[in-house]
């Protein structure tokens, strides 16, 4: 069983590795969910940054992303 204070460090470490990705990770009960997300291809570092933001910041950033998607969809091929 890992000590609680080490969980954050392990998650940060796993997130850092998620970019290089698919390296065998140390399994633990506490980080099974993180590992499953990494294995699926989810960028955990983005989730970590998002969790640190406020709800308002998340909604505004989502709105910016959605506006970009809508602009790209309306864009014409040259």
């Amino acid at each position: 069983m890992l000590k609680p204070y080490s969980r954050g460090l392990i998650i940060e470490n796993m997130a850092a590795k998620s970019k290089k990705n698919r390296m065998p990770m140390r399994k633990s009960l506490q980080t099974a969910e993180i590992q499953a997300a990494i294995d699926y291809g989810i960028d955990i570092s983005m989730l970590i940054q998002n969790v640190k933001r406020s709800c308002t910041e998340r909604i505004i950033r989502h709105q910016i992303a959605l506006n970009t998607v809508e602009k790209l969809r309306k864009a014409r091929r040259l």
Binding site: G8, I11, E33, D43, L47, I48, V51
Partner: protein, 165 residues
């Protein structure tokens, strides 16, 4: 016109529509990184609520987006009782209104599993992280798999947030 979900939420709040944000947008509020193109809400489908909702978005040219000719939204006290769900499109985004969520239940049960958040000085009810995971799991659509994985990872990150900061 582009989507403007904050504006849509603000209109519902200002019109005193009692609702809970559910679905993909609730995931965004909790920290998911995907982009969703509609807002799903669960609300009480009483005539009073639905008529308040209609008033809130009446100038946004709301239509039933699932009907072949995209019929205009024209609710009356009498017709309100016909609906269990409303799938609407407006000038500033799609708004799906549900009266029941699989895995959770009706509006009162959904409200019981929601939390109040503050966004730009307005208070909005959003489905809790645990309830959202439960609802997404019960739908078991392929596209919900990633959402569940993100939400479970977020739950783990929030549990260890103190350690991360």
């Amino acid at each position: 016109m582009s989507s403007d979900f904050l504006n849509l939420l603000e209109r519902l709040v200002n019109a005193d529509v009692d609702f809970v944000v559910i679905g993909g947008f609730a995931g965004v509020v909790h920290g998911c990184t995907y982009v969703t193109q509609d807002i799903d809400i669960c609300c009480d489908f009483s005539p009073a609520t639905l008529l308040a909702l209609q008033r809130a978005i009446s100038d946004l040219h709301p239509v039933h987006r699932m009907t072949p000719k995209r019929k205009k939204l024209k609710l009356t006290k009498q017709t309100c009782v016909q609906f269990k769900d409303l799938y609407l499109d407006t000038d500033i985004g799609q708004l799906d209104c549900l009266s029941f969520i699989d895995g959770l239940g009706d509006y009162n049960q959904v409200k019981g599993e929601s939390e109040l958040i503050e966004v730009e000085e307005m208070k909005v009810r959003v489905l809790s992280l645990d309830a959202l995971i439960k609802a997404k799991k019960s739908m078991s659509r392929p596209r919900d798999k990633e959402a569940v994985l993100q939400l479970e990872a977020i739950k783990e990150l929030k549990n260890s947030q103190q350690d991360l900061l």
